[in-house]
């Protein structure tokens, strides 16, 4: 158990250092959603409706977490492949998940930084003071969203490995995620056929829990759904990861760039 924790912590720490010193993966992962949040808040501000600003402010704060995960997680294994280290990752005496999950957890940590940066930005630039009824529940909801997003990232990493331009796929997932997860638009206002897609993403439930915690409601049901869908992604990713690694070994395609 101690060896597992040590491996997870070392991997997480190293990946966080790599991400936070990269201009593209660190600085831009924070700035890009922050600027989109700014554009959205400028739209909401035109009406000067405090309730709408509270709604948009909460969503804008959390939406950066999706960006911090999506692009990098999608291209995670492709990058290892380009760097010639994918064989080492696959040949390591621990399962693929034990390497990928701490990496995606590091991305979620950048996402948490996005939340804090956006909250500060909203207060500084828009003079928007978000009303949060229960800060402990709010923090718990944000942390649960970060944790389950790391599991979605794990799923994206193993799913997109066969797509040579997985970074482009990750970038294309950015806007759909922002639309589907209810950050700035209520899921109920989306076309009916789209709504089941929203329910299949843990972040949708995480965002609902964040709003409940801020409004003084009970976020527990949403948190439970968030945890359950996140766990489903983890199980699916673990299964897919094993299949992909076996297939790549059998067909000798691991190092193909």
């Amino acid at each position: 158990m101690s060896a597992l924790l040590h491996q997870q912590w070392t991997c997480y720490k190293l990946q966080l250092k790599v991400l936070s010193t990269s201009a593209f993966e660190g600085f831009l992962a924070v700035l890009f959603p922050l600027m989109f949040a700014t554009a959205a808040l400028l739209v909401y501000r035109v009406r000067n409706d405090p309730e709408a600003m509270q709604y948009a402010g909460l969503g804008a704060a959390v939406m950066g977490m999706w960006t911090a995960q999506g692009v990098i997680a999608s291209s995670l294994l492709t990058r290892e492949r380009w760097a010639g280290t994918l064989e080492l990752v696959v040949a390591a005496p621990v399962g693929l998940g034990r390497i990928l999950v701490p990496t995606t957890m590091a991305m979620s940590t950048i996402g948490l930084y996005c939340v804090v940066a956006t909250l500060a930005w909203e207060r500084w630039v828009f003079d928007l003071r978000l009303e949060v009824a229960s800060w402990p529940l709010f923090v718990a909801a944000v942390l649960m969203t970060a944790l389950t997003l790391a599991l979605v990232g794990y799923f994206l990493a193993v799913t997109a490995v066969r797509y040579r331009y997985s970074w482009a796929l990750g970038a294309a997932l950015e806007y759909p995620g922002w639309i589907l997860c209810g950050f700035l638009i209520p899921v109920a206002t989306l076309p009916v056929w789209v709504q089941p897609l929203s329910w299949a993403i843990p972040t949708t439930w995480g965002m609902a829990a964040v709003r409940s915690a801020a409004d003084g409601g009970s976020p527990w049901a949403d948190l439970a759904m968030c945890a359950a869908t996140g766990a489903a992604y983890a199980v699916l990713a673990a299964w897919l990861g094993r299949r992909l690694a076996d297939s790549a070994r059998r067909h000798a395609t691991l190092a193909l760039t």
């Binding site: 554009a39 009406r47 294309a172 639309i179 700035l184 638009i185």
Partner: protein, 261 residues
């Protein structure tokens, strides 16, 4: 004559070379799916906020996305050559820089125009936006002017990649600046005064205003001033880019930094 050959043949070769990396696997998600999703995102935000109509967001965001190919492709023609260690060969040729780089800009303008028009068409179809049939030819022209203007900024950005290593990061930062300052999703009148003033000196601002007026039924003559301003801003950035290229090229030769990656 040589300059014309460099302009046309060099530009065409550069454009073809771009498809070495701009394959369908990158082009479809980056330049077709993403602009459509950005239009939908802000159209839904606008509906939820009760601000603007779908046409407002379709035009603003479609034209905003013209900036992506214009900024990145121009940057890649310089920064990409540097990374591939071929920039030294390009810059040691006796070819005049003006046709060399402007020739590479023409296909980029065409690309930006296509991306913006795909966005406009998709937005019109998906959101059931009505633009009068008579307005389309003028809108096509305004989008060309906007793409030229964005390519001017792309040239300036490309010049900076002679010194700055993070071209992709820089391009995304500029894209975000255009998104926030150019009245893409908020009318210039609703932006804080200082932001609107900054927007006046950026590409897109006047082009978007002109396209919106045309879609609302104005004729091309009545938006001539806006189109001229849009082109003027583009020319300003293109001249700045060429001057920067000249200066940074000389610096790179003097300091031996041309091939430093």
């Amino acid at each position: 004559m040589t300059s014309l050959r460099i302009f046309f043949i060099g530009g065409l070769m550069s454009y073809r070379a771009m498809f070495g990396w701009l394959t369908p696997g990158i082009l479809i998600p980056s330049l077709l799916i993403s602009p459509i999703c950005q239009i939908l995102l802000f159209a839904f935000i606008g509906r939820n906020a009760g601000v603007g109509d779908d046409e407002f967001y379709v035009i603003g965001n479609a034209l905003n996305y013209a900036a992506i190919p214009c900024l990145f492709a121009m940057s890649v023609t310089i920064g990409g050559e540097r990374e591939a260690s071929t920039l030294g060969i390009v810059l040691t040729t006796p070819a005049r820089r003006l046709p060399l780089f402007l020739g590479r800009a023409v296909p980029v303008v065409a690309n930006g125009w296509c991306v913006a028009m795909v966005g406009v068409l998709a937005g019109v179809l998906l959101l059931d936006v009505h633009i009068p049939a008579g307005a389309w030819p003028a809108i096509l022209l305004v989008v060309v002017a906007t793409s030229i203007s964005c390519t001017g900024l792309g040239l300036a950005m490309g010049a900076v990649t002679l010194r700055v290593r993070e071209g992709a990061t820089f391009g995304n930062v500029l894209f975000c600046v255009l998104l926030v300052f150019c009245g893409v999703n908020v009318a210039q009148d609703d932006l804080p005064r200082w932001m609107a003033s900054v927007g006046d000196w950026l590409p897109l601002t006047h082009g978007i205003q002109a396209a919106r007026r045309l879609a609302d039924g104005a004729d091309l003559g009545s938006v001539g001033g806006l189109v001229a301003a849009e082109l003027g801003v583009g020319v300003l950035y293109a001249v700045l880019g060429l001057l920067l290229l000249r200066y940074l090229e000389q610096q790179s030769r003097r300091l031996d930094t041309l091939d430093r990656i």
